[in-house]
């Protein structure tokens, strides 16, 4: 009985304020889409970090006869120097951090170089002697790269020790900036959404002030009076949240997996399971924001 009465009040309010309700729906839709996009970007960053860091290696470049960098003095690294590096990598303090070590001599490095850059101009001038022999080190935990870099870079015959993770940092910085931008836009839009919901509910309460006055007079409980208004805000915001969720799922399905996945096939992209984590977050955020701003807005009419 009372539930039916409350729902009919809600329906009445939604119809009466149709244009305001539509604007609440649109604003929550857009703001929550940005929230969802920000969360997806963070997922994407996490995924790429995991993928690339696993593949990122530490490279120990040995001296060539043409190099003066690092510990090199225009002399090719000797057998002993290479053995020393190998021994250092096998020492108990360091061996525990390392998954695998591969050594590439001049010819192997040259072959790889040819495969990657063979068709660029100038590549013909490069001979195997130009390219340093290299130890490729795969780490168990990529975060520990600095330990390897420090322990090996002072050894004689070592030109340079390079942590490949450093090459990836600018990409992650850019993605992080994008996700913070999305969060910023989302925050602004959410403020607009909250204010709009509050205004809509005030308007709705104002157009029903006669009923509200009589309800207060005859002793309708505060909860009974405010529930229809809060539900009105929550329903409008939930419609917006559902649209935003659909947008997030569509972005993942058609843009990320469809378009980006087709363009860059060896890059790991977020999938549907990530989108489905975002959906309940958006629904809850939408409902909670609407409920709190609506109950704040209606509070003025309940003052006794």
């Amino acid at each position: 009985m009372r539930f039916g009465l409350i729902m009919s009040e809600v329906g009445h309010g939604l119809r009466r304020n149709f244009s305001m309700v539509v604007s609440v729906v649109l604003v929550t839709f857009i703001s929550l889409t940005f929230v969802g996009a920000a969360i997806l970007l963070q997922f994407q960053i996490g995924q790429m970090k995991g993928y690339w860091y696993d593949r990122a290696q530490v490279a120990v470049y040995m001296c060539t006869s043409l190099s003066t960098d690092g510990n090199c003095k225009l002399a090719e690294a000797t057998k002993d120097q290479k053995a020393l590096v190998e021994a250092q990598l096998k020492s108990p303090a360091i061996a525990g951090l390392i998954k695998r070590v591969d050594f590439e001599n001049h010819d192997q490095v040259y072959a790889e170089y040819k495969a990657q850059f063979g068709d660029t101009t100038g590549s013909d001038f490069v001979t195997p002697a130009f390219l340093p022999e290299t130890f490729w080190i795969n780490l168990k935990d990529p975060q520990q790269a600095d330990v390897i870099v420090e322990s090996v870079s002072d050894l004689p015959g070592v030109e340079q020790v390079k942590d490949q993770r450093k090459y990836l940092d600018p990409i992650f910085t850019a993605l992080n900036a994008a996700s913070f931008t999305a969060v910023g836009v989302a925050a602004l839009m959410l403020v607009a959404a909250v204010l709009l919901i509050a205004t809509t509910i005030r308007l709705s309460a104002f157009s029903r002030r006669r009923e509200l006055g009589i309800m207060r007079l005859v002793g309708a409980s505060n909860r009974f009076i405010q529930t229809p208004f809060i539900l009105e805000g929550v329903i409008a915001a939930l419609i917006g949240s559902v649209l935003a969720s659909a947008a997030v799922v569509a972005i993942v399905k058609f843009f990320v997996q469809g378009y980006l996945g087709g363009q860059a096939q060896d890059t790991p992209f977020i999938g549907m399971s990530d989108a489905l984590i975002v959906v309940p977050i958006l629904l809850v955020v939408g409902a909670v924001l609407a409920a709190s701003s609506a109950s704040f807005a209606i509070g003025r009419y309940l003052k006794v």
Partner: protein, 256 residues
């Protein structure tokens, strides 16, 4: 039933109190007229009883409850024991007579069965049995006020507050409304009616409480609109030093 202890009500931005140290007691089943000029504090009195306002000083007890100790959560439940009628009826224009009365029961969670029984009963009592489906604008002023009274008493309140219920009505319609209020009073409901209608007060000969500038200047059993205990003509600032004025004389002066 209603007790005021040294109640003072100050509104913000107004140094003069709307009610000033008012002390009174109204008993169960009494019929009380509240008279006084506009701005004398009648409406403030009614609003305090309803706990629409809280007193600045003093204590109010209604139906055995100290209103100062009533949390805002409990106020609605307290109000279910009170009925209120206004000069401007305050009906819902888009609801018919039955629904206007039923609305006040629906919103306090009464069952459909109770409403189907109580509303026709009370409409019959106020003399609107044949007009349950009319909209407010299809009724005369007197009939609209009867709907408002029906709405106020349908939940059988212990106290009925009426703020100038006949203010918009012609004398014969007013008389009909007064007959109805008297009948409600006879059934045991305490009725407090603020009014300017001298004819009605004089005719009914009930308890009269007169307010002037927020103070009770008269509280008479079976009084009239103006006091008959002290002739007013002899008093006044021209004929007497001010400090010698009787309380009714002060009242008279204030009215001037």
């Amino acid at each position: 039933m209603i007790r005021f202890d040294q109640v003072t009500k100050l509104y913000k931005g107004n140094a003069r109190p709307a009610l000033n140290a008012v002390t009174l007691e109204i008993l169960r089943g009494e019929f009380v007229f509240l008279v006084g000029a506009s701005g004398s504090g009648k409406s403030s009195f009614l609003r305090l009883v309803l706990k629409e306002e809280s007193p600045s000083r003093g204590q109010i007890h209604v139906l055995g409850q100290n209103l100062g100790g009533l949390t805002s959560r409990k106020v609605p439940f307290f109000r279910r024991n009170l009925g209120v009628v206004f000069q401007d009826f305050r009906l819902l224009p888009q609801k018919n007579v039955f629904d206007n009365v039923a609305f006040s029961l629906q919103v306090i969670g009464k069952s459909r069965g109770f409403i189907q029984e109580a509303v026709p009963d009370v409409l019959k009592m106020v003399g609107l049995a044949g007009k349950t489906n009319r909209l407010p604008h299809e009724l005369s002023g007197g009939e609209q006020q009867r709907v408002a009274i029906a709405r106020a008493i349908v939940n059988k309140p212990a106290i009925l507050l009426a703020d100038e219920p006949t203010g918009n009505l012609d004398p014969s319609t007013s008389a009909g409304i007064m007959t109805l209020l008297e009948r409600i009073s006879q059934s045991g409901t305490t009725v407090i009616m603020a009014t300017h209608d001298a004819g009605i007060v004089d005719q009914m000969q009930r308890r009269v409480i007169e307010l002037v500038s927020g103070q009770i200047v008269r509280d008479e059993r079976q009084g009239g609109y103006q006091t008959q205990a002290i002739p007013l003509q002899g008093f006044g600032p021209s004929s007497m030093p001010r400090q010698n004025l009787g309380i009714a004389g002060q009242a008279e002066e204030a009215i001037r």
